[in-house]
Amino acid sequence: MKEGKVIKVSGPLVVANGMKDAKMFEVVRVSEEKLMGEIIELDGDNASIQVYEDTSGIGPGDPVARTGDTMSVELGPGLLTSIYDGIQRPLHLIEKEAGAYITRGINVPGLDHKKKWNFKPLKAKGDEVEGGDILGEVEETTLINHKVMVPPTVVGGTLEEIKSGDYTIDDVVAVVKDEDGKEHEITMVHKWSIRRPRPVKEKSIPVEPLVTGTRILDTLFPITKGGAGCIPGPFGAGKTVTQQSLAKFCDAQVIVYIGCGERGNEMTEVLNEFPELEDPNTGEPLMKRTILIANTSNMPVAAREASVYTGITIAEYYRDMGYNVALMADSTSRWAEALREMSGRLEEMPGEEGYPAYLGSKTAEFYERAGYVKCQGSEGRTGSVTAIGAVSPPGGDLSEPVTQNTLRVTKVFWGLDAKLAYKRHFPAINWLASYSLYGDNVRDYMKKEVSEEYEPLKVEAMNILQQEASLEEIVKLVGMDALSPKERLALETAKSLREDFLFQNAFDYEDAYTPLKKQYWILKCILTVYYEALPLVEKENFSFDEFLALPIMEKVVKAKDIKKEELEKYEDLHKEIQKAIQAYGSKFQLEA
């Protein structure tokens, strides 16, 4: 390969000459230390390179070696349970090479090339196969069977040979002969460029909800498997706690968690916690379905830019096997800032707030890689990638470019609110500002899987919360006495909805995860109080103090403490509530 020479260094940007026939996004190695970089601009003989490692000590005259490859990840068994930096280098191997501090020029493979996996063939010699077809599988973890597929780049043909037994990822496990008689050797690993979406047969409209176990999300603002959502919020409002809670409890089969420019200790926390915590859907350690990508705020800025692409490429790979994958990126604002920094150093004309003009298209490109798809291959399997990005708007100001560009392409908006966080109401998701455009998509599913009544209850709950917001204004001005009894009841119900339904403690194991059916029952219990009280409040001698002091109210408050294994108890509770309030109401009938 030809070599170029460095002519300019400015932070993570290096310009080299002698790069005439280099390609855009080609990976290069800068200086004798072989720092990894990627070409992001070509101008005649010069190439601008973003370098994924610290560039101190690099100067004009240093060699730039070309590799001919674009920036890619290695895809194959061994990805799960790994923790990578932004360019798929396993952090534990970096530690082994360099110690606790990350130094430069470390070159470690993304996957273990020595480990042997037990390959079980699912196809036989002579079968016709095409790109994307599953040839066999490997037990990657006790949770996930890794499907070994014909790489999407192979057109297809006849299976000439297929093996069975223990192989490394570099061993040939199958040979496919295409129409032209050319033989393709297939191993368990292949490389894929991170900036190129993996092909699918077709995309479809997602209809199944991604159950997160967080009540406000599942009930009021659901996201679908294959949907795209964003969580913007000021610091301290609980973005990371929400993202981590999603990663822990959502019912996707594979989780890709990207810590993009965030705190080091947060990643350490995930690393400590996930191997210990059980997946509520399977009872196995969470780590067995998780891939972590950690590019913390103090790690090189350019690798932060790459980390979200590395993550989504891995997510697409598992999607192609037919899994439902959820990807969390915390936080996409840091990714945008990395873009801005590189753009500034390239001396590009800035758009809003110094961000490059292509921020919007890049954001859209990223979220469009989410989706519910029919995978490549003849088997017609489906898979999905759900992408949830946290956004950190400066000062909590949602009008800033990153939030606005994200809102244009995501269909779910979970708006975090500092005021709720100050009151320690968690998750601090503002129920008036947030929205989900997937409500209609999942309606049929909810009707079938949960209850016919779920939808009307949800609408009523939203109405009451909306009513509360306007009534509170009145109370602030003229006091509680000015309200009609019905309005007062709405206020009390809203309070109950807030405190006993929406409030959820992410640090309490039982409370942190609520299955859909349980969510429905809690909501139903709270609203039963409302419906039963509605005819009573207008009565002459009705007293709210007396009503709220009824012993049954205590049970409504504790409704969420009923264990998820004992849902039948809710039937009884529901009846008990009805009875107790009707009994209380009969008092007025007698008086009348």
């Binding site: 002519i7 300019k8 260094v9 400015s10 932070g11 310009v15 610290d54 560039t55 101190s56 000590g57 690099i58 100067g59 004009p60 005259g61 923790i83 952090l91 534990h92 970096i94 530690e95 360099a98 606790a100 501090y101 990350i102 130094t103 000021p234 610091f235 301290g236 420019g261 705190r263 080091g264 200790n265 990643m267 350490t268 690393l271 400590n272 950690a294 913390t296 705020s297 103090n298 790690m299 090189p300 800032e337 801005r340 920094e341 500034g344 707030e353 110094g354 950190s392 400066p394 000062g395 909590g396 100001d397 500092a418 966080a421 100050y422 009151k423 320690r424 602030k476 003229v478 006091g479």
Partner: protein
């Protein structure tokens, strides 16, 4: 062989352009010698073919394009560290200014540090008792945390920081501690306050001070916190010490960054601060924590003054996104004579859920209850302003009273008052006992039984 160049092309603010250079590397240290023989240090900020852009750490006053010599030293800025630095005072660029001898370094370390591998970090989990109720109970500090103080001009952040430095300890442990203090652009008096404070308590022998006062060169401030943190890393991870680092005032630091950025004519981000302010601050704040297999730790208390008390200003805003919480000081409380004026509601410690598990069994519940009750009390207070106290219900009046007592007894404490966590929690129960028992929804019944003062049951 180091070459000297006399080819200075231009001097603008803290930046100098040198032409015709050869073999210059990015981030390399540069020594500028004026015709009069005074020596100043700088570093290479950008190198393009044969021109190097140098950012000075010291003032460019007196530097002429004619006659000044630039020597490229072939290495990045380093600090020589040694345990003998304890008890010493240095300038913002690391030269001894206490009249003592130069420290004989045990080793020299690049001040920029390298990012710590998240895989090699150990999660901080030792409760660090500060003796301040609002911090210990509601925003619990953990050893190895980075918890900034968001203050405003004229608020007593220095006193709070000094009190924390004086009182903080992990109980039941005789530990090897050190305090590192870095001042950036603060007044002579403020720097002197810390010096005297450390002298008074004898802590000076266990501390290293780096002082860049308001009179010192602005750009030197960019190096000051890095010198301090490099020293801290050395003491913590090579000498097994538990190091508390106080950095004050980050606002001045960021302004120095802005000055350099403006001189380079970079495209600015918000309010003229450079677009990489977040990344730059992260390279400071992330140098806190613990490392697997090492005994020591670094706890950071950075102080910043929010311009116009505006928490959405880029400096506190970006800081809040990196640090593990924040202690916000309130001008209102300060005006009412309440010390320490900790504004409880916007304050936060992200590591406190871990710490609350190891203090006392009732801490978690008390934490939730105290917060909720005080927040409610403040809401009632707002309501009372509009409607008058007579319009409040009995229960609201109790909350109003609670909020008042909370401020006067719980927040307010003497500068020398070192409350143990038990004292703080018992005080919380005493305050909560003024509320009806039915209102105490966030504490478990068994703890109410155990800890609620008996006479009020």
């Amino acid at each position: 062989m180091q070459k000297e160049y006399k080819t200075l092309k231009s001097v603008a603010g803290p930046l100098i352009l040198v032409e015709g250079v050869e073999g210059v590397k990015y981030e390399e240290l540069v020594e500028m010698t004026t015709a009069e023989g005074s020596v100043r240090m700088g570093r290479v900020l950008e190198v393009h073919n044969d021109t190097a852009l140098v950012q000075m750490f010291e003032s460019t006053q007196g530097i002429a394009t004619e006659g000044t010599k630039a020597k490229f030293l072939g290495k990045a800025m380093e600090i020589g560290v040694s345990e003998d630095m304890l008890g010493r005072v240095f300038s913002g660029s690391g030269k001894p200014i206490d009249g003592g001898e130069a420290v004989i370094p045990e080793k020299k370390i690049n001040i920029n540090g390298a990012p710590l591998n998240p895989y090699s970090r150990d999660f901080p989990n030792d409760f660090y008792q500060t003796g301040i109720s609002t911090i210990d109970c509601l925003n619990t500090l953990v050893r190895g945390q980075k918890l900034p103080i968001f203050s405003g001009a004229g608020l007593p952040h220095s006193r709070v920081a000094a009190q924390i430095a004086r009182q903080c300890k992990v109980r039941g442990e005789e530990s090897n501690t050190a305090v590192i203090f870095a001042a950036m652009g603060v007044t002579f008096e403020e720097a002197e306050y810390f010096t005297n404070e450390f002298k008074k308590t004898g802590a000076i022998n266990r501390s290293v001070m780096f002082l860049n006062t308001a009179a010192d060169p602005v750009v030197e401030r960019i190096a000051t916190p890095r010198l301090a943190l490099t020293t801290a890393e050395y003491l913590a991870f090579e000498k097994d010490m538990h190091v508390l680092v106080i950095l004050t005032d980050l606002t001045n630091y960021c302004e120095a960054l802005r000055e350099v950025s403006a001189a380079r004519k970079e495209v600015p981000g918000r309010r003229g601060y450079p677009g990489y302010l977040y990344t730059d601050l992260a390279t400071l704040y992330e140098r806190a924590g613990r490392v697997k297999g090492k005994k020591g730790s670094i706890t950071q208390i950075p102080i910043l003054t929010m311009p116009e008390d505006d928490i959405t200003h880029p400096i506190p805003d970006l800081t809040g996104y990196i640090t593990e919480g924040q202690i916000v000081l309130s001008r209102e409380l300060h005006r009412e004579g309440i010390y320490p004026p900790v504004n409880v509601l916007p304050s936060l410690s992200r590591l406190s859920p871990t710490a609350r598990k190891i203090t006392r069994e009732d801490h978690e519940g008390v934490f939730g209850q105290m917060y909720a009750a005080f927040a409610r009390g403040l809401e009632v207070r707002d309501l009372a302003v509009i409607l008058g106290e007579s319009a409040l219900s009995d229960i609201d009046l109790k909350y109003l009273e609670f909020a008042k007592n909370f401020e006067q007894e719980f927040i307010k404490q003497d500068e020398t008052d070192d409350r143990s966590i038990e004292e703080t929690l018992d005080l919380s129960w005493k305050l909560m006992s003024a509320l009806p028992k039915s209102e105490l929804k966030r504490v478990k019944d068994e703890y109410i039984e155990k800890y609620l003062p008996k006479e009020t049951k």
